[in-house]
Amino acid sequence: MNSHFRPVGGPILTKTFLVSAAVFAVSAAILVWRFIVGLGPTTAMSDLYPWGIWITYDVVVGTALACGGYAVALLCYVLNKGKYHHLIRPAILTSALGYTLAGVSVIIDLGRYWNVWKVPLLWNWNRNSILLEVAICIMSYVVVLWIELSPAFIEKWEEDAPWQWLRNLSIRIHPWLNKILIPILALGILLPTMHQSSLGSMMLIAMHKLHKLWHTPFLPLLFLLSCIVMGYAAVVFETALADSVFKLPRETKLLAPLSVAMVIVLFAYLAVRIADLAYRGRLGLIFRFDFYSFMFLLEMALFLTPAVLLLFRRFRYNPGVEFVCAMMMMAGGLLYRFDAFLVGFKPAPGWNYFPSVPEMFVTFGLVAFEVMAYLFIVKTFPILGGAPHAAAGTAHGVAGVPAPGR
C-alpha cells in the first residue's frame, strides 16, 4: 500500500457491533411497519408539525455532524495545511456514511417516495425551490464522497480482493481516479458550501411560524458557519474515540492548531447572531427568561465556552479539554438546528411535537447502522493513519503553518 493509511484489523463481530446490529434490527422492523401503515401511526408528526426528527436530526443535524470531510478538506486542500492529510480519510468516511444515511432517512420520511426519481430530471425543476437545491446537492455530494473515499477501497482490492475481476477492475480504475480527483475534491468543497447554507435558507419561508430568536435573513450564513464547527468537532470526537479504541497514538498536537481556526469561526458565528438580533431590536427576547430564551442562552453557552477555552494554548493541547470542547460544539450546533427547525417552530397555538418511540428507534437504528459500517470499513480498509504521527507532523510542518511547539 502506497499510503500511510492502514486497516486496523481485528475481529468484526465485537460487542459494540452486535449491540448496534440488535438496535438496527428493531428499527428495520419498525420501518417495515411504517411502509405498510403510513406515517401517522408510526410517528408523532401531524398536520401542523409535518417535519419531525427524521428531517431535523437525521438530515439537518446529521449532515452537519457529517461535515468533517468538508471542514478538513477546506483546511487541507484550500488552506493547504498538509499535515492534516491523514485526518482526511476517516473524516471522509464518517461524512460519506452520515450523508448516505441522511439520504436514506429522507426516503423513509417522504410520503410519496415512489415519485422521487422525478426529482433529478431537469425539466421538472422548480428553480425557486430551496429544497430542490438542497436535494440535488446532497444527492451529488453522496456520490462525490464515495468517490473521494474510493482510493481506500481500491488500494485494498488491488492487493487482495475477494474476486479476481474486482482486483483487475481496481487496478484499471486507479490511474483514472487520480486524474479526476481534483475536480472531485473541488466539488467536495463547493457542494457542502451550497447546501449547508441552503438548509438554513429553508426556514426563511416560515417567516411567521418560526420564533423571532431564530428567524433571520442570516439563517444561511449561520448554518454554514455552524456546520464547519460541528464537522470539525465531530472529527476531533471521532479521532479521539478511534485512537483510544484502536490504541493509536493521540493526535492532539495535530488537531490543536486547527482549533484556532475553529475559535475564529465560533466567534464569527456568535458575533453575527448577536449583532443581527441587536440590529433588528430583538435582544429583549433573550432576557425574557421564558423557555425560548433559555434554549437560546444554552446554545450560546455551548458555543461560547469552547470558543473561550480554546483561546488558551494550554487548553488546546490538553486532550481532555479538547474532547469536552468538541462535545460542546457538537451539542451547541445540534441544539441550534433543533431550535431552528422544531423547538422554535410554532405554527399555531396549542400544538406540540415530541417524537414517538418508534420514530426515535428508527433514528437510533440509522446511527447504529453507521457505527457498524464504520467499524467494518476501518477494520477492513486503509482508512486510519497507522504510522507514528509525530514524525509525519514534522515532515509536513514546512508545508503550511510552522509545526506546533512541543
Partner: protein, 296 residues
C-alpha cells in the same frame, strides 16, 4: 496567502455577504400581480349561519369520505379542522357575547409559498390564479405544509400511499361551467365566486354601505402579497380571532427567493467558486507533492 486562495475565500465571503445583506436592487424580486382573469371567492362572516351545507357539498363534489367527530362519538361528519379528507371547514369563534363563523380553505395566494417551495412543481398557479395540486409530481416531502402561512395543505397520515389535500377552487367544476361546490350550496350567499376584481369592489362596497356591520378591512386584499379568497368579518372581530394571522403585506417567497437568486443568479457564483477551488487545490497538491519528494 496565494492570490487564488484569497479569491476563493473572498468569493465565499462575498457569496455569504450578498446572501444576507445588500442584495442589489436589480436582483430584487418583483411583486407579483394576480393574473388578468383571476377568479376567487368572497366569504362574508356576517352572512354565514353555520349550516355547514358548504362542507357537505365540498365532500360530495370532491369525493372525500366523511370523518367521524372526535368530540362527540358517532357524529356523522364532524372534522375538527381541515385534514387529509376535508378541504373546507366551518369553525365557530366565541368570546363573551361575540360570535362568528369562519370558513377555512386554501386562500389561493397571489404569490403562494407552497408553489415557491415545491421541488418539482406539484403545486402550480394556473392562468386564473387557482393554486392547483398534481399528485403525480408530488414526492410527499411536506415542505408546502411547513411553508403555508395559513397551514392549509394537509397530509393523509393514515395510509401507505398518501396525498396532499387542499381546496383547488373546484377547478374541475369550473371547467364544466359550474360553480364551486360550497358556493353552489350556500343558502345565504355567504360565500360567492367571481372575478377577483369584482369581488374586491363588492367587498369594499359592503363595508362602505354598512360601516357599523363590518370590521373595516378586507382580508386578503394585500395580506401576504394578496390572496384570491377574500374575507369580511363582523365589526369588533379582528381577523386574527378567526384564525387569519396578521402577516403583513410582504409575500412570503420574497425573502427566500431574493436571497437565493442573489447567490445563484445564472449560477455564476458557484461556477466561479468551483473554478477557483479547482485551481487552488491543484496548486496546493502540486506544491505539496514536490515537498514530499524533497523530504524523502
Amino acid at each position: 496567502m496565494s492570490v487564488t486562495r484569497r479569491t476563493v475565500l473572498k468569493g465565499m465571503a462575498a457569496a455569504a455577504a450578498t446572501s444576507v445583506t445588500g442584495v442589489p436592487k436589480a436582483l430584487a424580486r418583483e411583486r407579483k400581480k394576480p393574473p388578468a382573469d383571476a377568479v376567487g371567492m368572497l366569504y362574508d362572516a356576517t352572512r354565514c349561519i353555520g349550516c355547514k351545507a358548504c362542507m357537505v357539498k365540498c365532500k360530495e363534489v370532491n369525493h372525500l369520505p366523511p370523518e367521524p367527530g372526535t368530540k362527540v362519538e358517532g357524529m356523522y361528519d364532524a372534522p375538527d379542522d381541515l385534514s387529509g379528507y376535508t378541504k373546507n371547514v366551518i369553525k365557530l369563534y366565541r368570546e363573551g357575547d361575540k360570535v362568528s363563523y369562519m370558513k377555512a380553505q386554501c386562500m389561493h395566494c397571489v404569490d403562494p409559498a407552497c408553489v415557491s417551495v415545491c421541488m418539482i412543481s406539484a403545486f402550480r398557479k394556473d392562468k386564473q390564479g387557482i393554486v392547483t395540486y398534481d399528485p403525480a409530481q408530488c414526492v410527499g416531502c411536506r415542505y408546502c405544509m411547513m411553508a403555508c402561512p395559513f397551514n392549509i395543505p394537509k397530509y393523509q397520515w393514515d395510509v401507505a400511499f398518501p396525498k396532499i389535500v387542499k381546496c383547488e377552487l373546484c377547478r374541475h367544476r369550473l371547467a364544466e361551467g359550474k360553480l364551486p361546490g360550497c358556493v353552489e350550496a350556500c343558502p345565504r350567499e355567504a360565500v360567492i365566486f367571481g372575478r377577483l376584481e369584482d369581488l374586491k369592489a363588492d367587498a369594499k362596497r359592503r363595508i362602505a354601505a354598512e360601516p357599523g356591520r363590518y370590521y373595516p378591512k378586507v382580508y386578503g386584499e394585500t395580506d401576504g402579497g394578496g390572496t384570491q379568497v377574500l374575507y369580511l368579518s363582523a365589526a369588533g372581530i379582528p381577523f386574527e380571532k378567526l384564525g387569519l394571522p396578521d402577516i403583513g403585506d410582504q409575500p412570503l417567497p420574497e425573502l427566500s427567493e431574493t436571497l437565493q437568486h442573489a447567490v445563484y443568479q445564472g449560477f455564476v457564483a458557484p461556477i466561479v467558486l468551483y473554478g477557483a477551488l479547482g485551481i487552488v487545490i491543484y496548486r496546493n497538491r502540486k506544491r505539496q507533492s514536490g515537498e514530499e519528494e524533497g523530504d524523502k
